[in-house]
């Protein structure tokens, strides 16, 4: 990109620079990224450094842009689920289910209670996995490798649960429009019970390592703060907004998937710094575990999918022996299902914020337009403001605590 060439080295602090702060009135250009090991993804930031302090930042994004919105305009609705995996790949089940909910809203499907509860279990597991990655990486960036190594085994357990539920681990493609492709297997039940029983101990161990650790606290408190007002202006959502003290959670404000059946609290921070973001995620993991427990204990009996022959694939044995089933199978696989025309916006609480789907259907086999509201695309633009005047090492920490996921950022 041309930006690199355009920024002259050691440019005089004439343009917008505050030369009083700078000893020599000169800035050093520092290229952080695109493939810097400390940024955990492909992000480029061209920093103007005033000594050790960051004066201004020029961001470049789009290195892994894959044109999902364009791709979606050529794909039948059920083939878009795997695209959504690749948005926030740390919690892909939430993306998958969010998309299915959007389509179900468009076709106004009636979803069985059991499906809702199963989805809640899967989505909350995904939230825990997402927060585990983010929080343990904050630890790594402060130099605390141990917590990361220990808590990652719980992420592994969650991935094993995904594997039982849908056969895959990272890019899950879990569920179908209308429900799940299969019921939870007996192994899933065993592993989930084990997880509910053992995870508190693992999370507590991680909490003990970092939460009240004086070295860690001194390092992250007041690092990359943002006020509630600025966070709202920048469109922050999710744990980052809640760390700044605004109790906006899509699960509570616009409940989907029977979230209103569950009793949980929204953890809040006060000053929106790295420590608050870390703590909000820590508390959310406990809340998620509570939701999983409640959903699993009260898992209703019934079907694991809705009765939607136009969208939900019929069982294979019927496809071979039943004409209607064969027709529906063919129509779904070839993407010839009739869709109602209309516009829907649906959002779910993703791992890092409000993940929205704006779907415009003209009645064709594919969406006319599909726009993803990717939370980190929206809040990452606040990054220069958050790190202005900070040290370079704080910038690294701020970025990892914001949970910016390259796949979602670049869509």
């Amino acid at each position: 990109m041309n930006d690199i060439a355009n920024i002259p080295n050691n440019n005089k602090a004439a343009k917008g620079g505050d030369s009083k702060e700078s000893i020599s009135g000169e800035f050093t250009t520092l290229n952080l990224g695109p493939t810097h090991p400390a940024t955990h993804g492909i992000f480029q930031n061209i920093l103007q450094m005033d000594g050790e302090r960051i004066h201004s930042t020029e961001q470049t994004i789009g290195y892994i842009h894959r044109a999902f919105e364009k791709l979606a305009e050529r794909r039948p609705y059920n083939q878009i689920t795997p695209i959504t995996d690749r948005l926030n790949y740390c919690s892909s089940p939430i993306n998958n289910i969010g998309w299915q909910l959007t389509v179900e809203k468009l076709i106004q499907a009636d979803i069985p209670k059991r499906v809702d509860y199963m989805r809640v279990i899967i989505m909350e597991l995904a939230r825990i996995a997402d927060h585990i990655i983010c929080n343990s990486v904050i630890g790594v960036d402060t130099g605390a490798m141990t917590g990361f190594l220990y808590i990652f085994q719980w992420r592994e357990k969650i991935y094993e649960l995904y594997e039982e539920a849908c056969g895959t681990r990272l890019t899950t493609n879990v569920g179908r429009i209308g429900g799940f492709e299969r019921d939870f297997s007996p192994t899933f039940h065993t592993k989930l019970k084990q997880f509910i029983k053992d995870f508190p101990q693992g999370l507590q161990e991680f909490s003990n390592l970092l939460e009240r650790n004086r070295i860690f606290m001194d390092r992250v408190i007041n690092c990359g703060p943002i006020s509630a007002e600025r966070a709202l202006a920048y469109g922050f959502t999710g744990p980052n907004l809640r760390a700044a003290g605004v109790d906006y959670d899509v699960r509570v404000m616009n409940p989907y998937c029977s979230y209103n059946d569950f009793d949980f609290t929204i953890p809040l921070g006060t000053q929106g710094d790295t420590y608050d973001r870390f703590m909000v995620r820590q508390q959310e993991m406990w809340e998620s575990l509570k939701i999983i427990k409640a959903a699993y204990e009260n898992l209703p009996e019934g079907k694991y999918h809705a009765d939607l022959p136009d969208f939900y694939l019929p069982p294979k044995d019927q496809v071979y022996h039943n004409m209607e089933a064969l027709i529906y199978h063919f129509k779904i696989v070839m993407g010839e299902t009739k869709m109602p025309a209309g516009e829907v916006y649906h959002s779910v609480e993703g791992g890092n914020g409000e993940l929205g789907y704006y779907l415009v259907s003209d009645g064709g086999r594919t969406p006319y337009r599909l726009h993803f509201r990717r939370p980190c695309f929206i809040y990452y633009q606040a990054y220069p403001e958050m790190i202005k005047g900070a040290l370079l090492s704080d910038a690294i920490l701020t970025m990892s605590s914001m949970n910016v996921i390259a796949g979602e950022l670049d869509a």
């Binding site: 990109m1 041309n2 994004i61 789009g62 842009h65 044109a67 919105e69 364009k70 791709l71 305009e73 050529r74 809203k105 468009l106 600025r230 709202l232 202006a233 920048y234 469109g235 605004v246 906006y248 404000m253 616009n254 070839m334 010839e336 209309g342 516009e343 829907v344 916006y345 959002s347 409000e354 929205g356 704006y358 415009v360 086999r365 337009r369 726009h371 509201r373 695309f377 929206i378 990452y380 633009q381 606040a382 670049d410 869509a411």
Partner: protein
Amino acid sequence: MITIDNNYLKEQIASHLGKQLLYSEETYGMLCVETTKESIISLLQFLKEHSELQMSFLTTMCGIHYPDHKGKELGVTYHLHSLVNNIRVRVKIFFSEHDCVVPTATTLFDTANWMEREAFDFYGIKFEGHPNLKRILNVEHMNYHPLRKEYPLEDATRTDKDDHFFGR
């Protein structure tokens, strides 16, 4: 005590816009209004600063392209959300692709900055007054706007595939 629902919202928007309110509809629980690009900023500001509605959160905005709607080929859709009243609204504007200059919303919402850059990148919609209007996800030397409908996803010059039988 006023109940803040879609009807109240619609009344407020109608009284603010007058004749500039071109269309309004409630679909899937969300009010959707269409206005002109001349009055979009005043409407967004009205909704943002309204003492009852307080729709100060710009959830998302994106471009859209209808090549068959002559004179109204391109559009921008704004989703506003009131976190206080938990009510959302979708505001749309449409304009000709030959005159796709729209006033920027960055004066009202900091978050509109990248959203507008994205709409510019993919649809070529120019936001007048934007502080840094350049491509965001695509490379800068790209000379077209890929989400416009005239750019098919598959190579249009391919002759080895006949999709006729599958309704494409």
